[in-house]
Amino acid sequence: MELVCEGIAHRYGALDVLAGIDLAVQPGECLALLGPSGCGKSTLLGIMGGLLAPSSGRVVLRGEAPASSLNPITYVFQDFALLPWRTVAGNVALALEHRGLSKTEMDARVADALARTSLTEFRDAFPKQLSGGMRQRVGIARALSVDPAVLLLDEPLSALDAQTRDLLMEDFLKLWLASRTTSVYVTHNLQEALRLADRICVLSRRPGRIKEIVALDLPQASRGSPDAARRMAEWAEHLWHLIRDEAAVAEREVANVR
């Protein structure tokens, strides 16, 4: 499925957060939204996912979702958004319980999602018994269980320590390469964007506008190889050049607001 943003603008009261966002996320691609703090990345994702109504513009889904998709546009949250009173399996099942599935089908979907995220043996654990990385796995399992047509990921790794982040990023990449679900990945981490995305959409500081879209024409699977190192470094330098000044100004703006 293709997700298209047409003339999206958003304001919170007198504060312009987003302006003139025209963007098409192609079927099967992973698009990273990169930008400084407060540039409206998460706001744009919320608008894409129908959780926020834009001040102007609209979001359109083109194409048909697969029949197996129970929730075409599905979110993965930065802070995991797990229900502490439900077990791992219960949290995954939450996304399915209102879909009118038979118990067999629901159990099968839950088991499959847990297996794909290596959580099978933790199915009866409560979130407080899990590490941050495991909790985010539950968030990903919950999203996978509904077989999404478009996956919206709001800084899914930013709450994790560096080691866990790297491990989970590689696991997520494997999962994503196996399904190639149309994805929008919000991050302020350059390395995450470079590792995962087909294209990186760089937003300017507030009000967020599209500054540049960088296409990374190198398969994700080969980006870790020594041969790819030079290209990756060039992209990293170019992207850093794009966001460095914006990030510095945004930081000063945030400091002034505080």
Binding site: G49, G50, L51, N71, I73, T74, Y75, F77, D79, A81, L83, P84, W85, R86, L94, A95, E97, H98, F126, K128, R142, V146
Partner: protein
């Protein structure tokens, strides 16, 4: 410089469970009290020893009076607390969920909550008569306000990202309320039950002292009027046990419903 072991400086300020300490302290207190009574250090008219109070309790049980007073009190407590809790939960939920209900409800609750509810008993007697209804209504009113406040504050405290998560997976509103808001608010609601049950017990005794023939409050007042301090303290012991039983029951309920914590 000569070698010196680093001195441990991190002692204390870390609460440790000490088993049986409370029980032992209670037993010592009872023993001193008993000794003071028997040795004539304290007048039994003003403070009878624990053994006399225990005998008074046993006599009351044998005469069937204890059950009579207890059952009257339990009836008022259950109906008063139940009614106040039911209406309080409904109003608290409405205020927690709907902005209009909150806009209307918060000023009302803020204005009426500080009124000592026992002061309304004479008015309620005028409206509802001297029978059970006025006493039950007094308790219900006293329970209603803390329940409303606890419920809507608990709903307010449910993380909004959990609700957005439910909405992002297409949960119908009824499911969001039942599977996310209600369990998320439960710890706060149960904490409110502890407060409201204490208030219910206070109002029960007060209401029974003002206008009842039977009930623990009435019994304590009658015993006081007749200088029967052993019976008066027996009544106080029953109230203490009742309060303890309610607290233990709520503790068990919390343990059962909030085991995920």
């Amino acid at each position: 410089m000569s070698d010196r072991p680093v001195e441990f400086r991190g002692l204390g300020f870390a609460p440790q469970p000490v088993r049986y300490a409370a029980l032992a302290a209670f037993a010592v207190l009872l023993a001193i009290w008993e000794y003071a009574g028997r040795a004539g250090l304290v007048s039994p008219i003003f403070l009878p020893p624990p053994s006399t109070i225990a005998k008074a309790l046993a006599d009351l049980w044998a005469q069937g009076l204890l059950l009579r007073h207890l059952s009257e009190s339990a009836y008022r407590l259950v109906f008063g607390w139940g009614l106040g809790t039911f209406v309080g939960l409904a109003a608290g939920f409405a205020m927690g969920i709907w902005s209009v209900s909150r806009a209307i409800g918060v000023p009302f609750v803020s204005a009426l909550f500080p009124i000592p509810k026992i002061s309304l008993l004479p008015l309620l007697i005028l409206w509802l008569g001297i029978g059970e209804a006025s006493k039950v209504a007094t308790i219900a009113l006293g329970v209603f306000f803390p329940t409303v406040i606890a419920t809507y504050a608990a709903i307010d405290a449910v993380p909004r990202n959990l609700i957005r998560m439910g909405q992002s997976f297409g949960l119908p509103t009824s499911d969001v309320l039942r599977k996310i808001v209600l369990p998320g608010a439960l710890p706060g609601i149960l904490a409110g039950f502890r407060i409201s049950s204490s208030i219910a017990l206070i109002l029960l005794v007060s209401a029974e002292m003002i206008g009842a023939q039977y009930g623990i409050g009435a019994f304590v007042l009658q015993a006081g009027n007749l200088m029967l301090t052993d019976q008066l303290l027996a009544g106080v012991v029953i109230l203490s046990i009742l309060g303890l039983a309610i607290g233990t029951g709520l503790g068990q309920l919390e343990k059962r419903l909030l085991r995920w914590r």
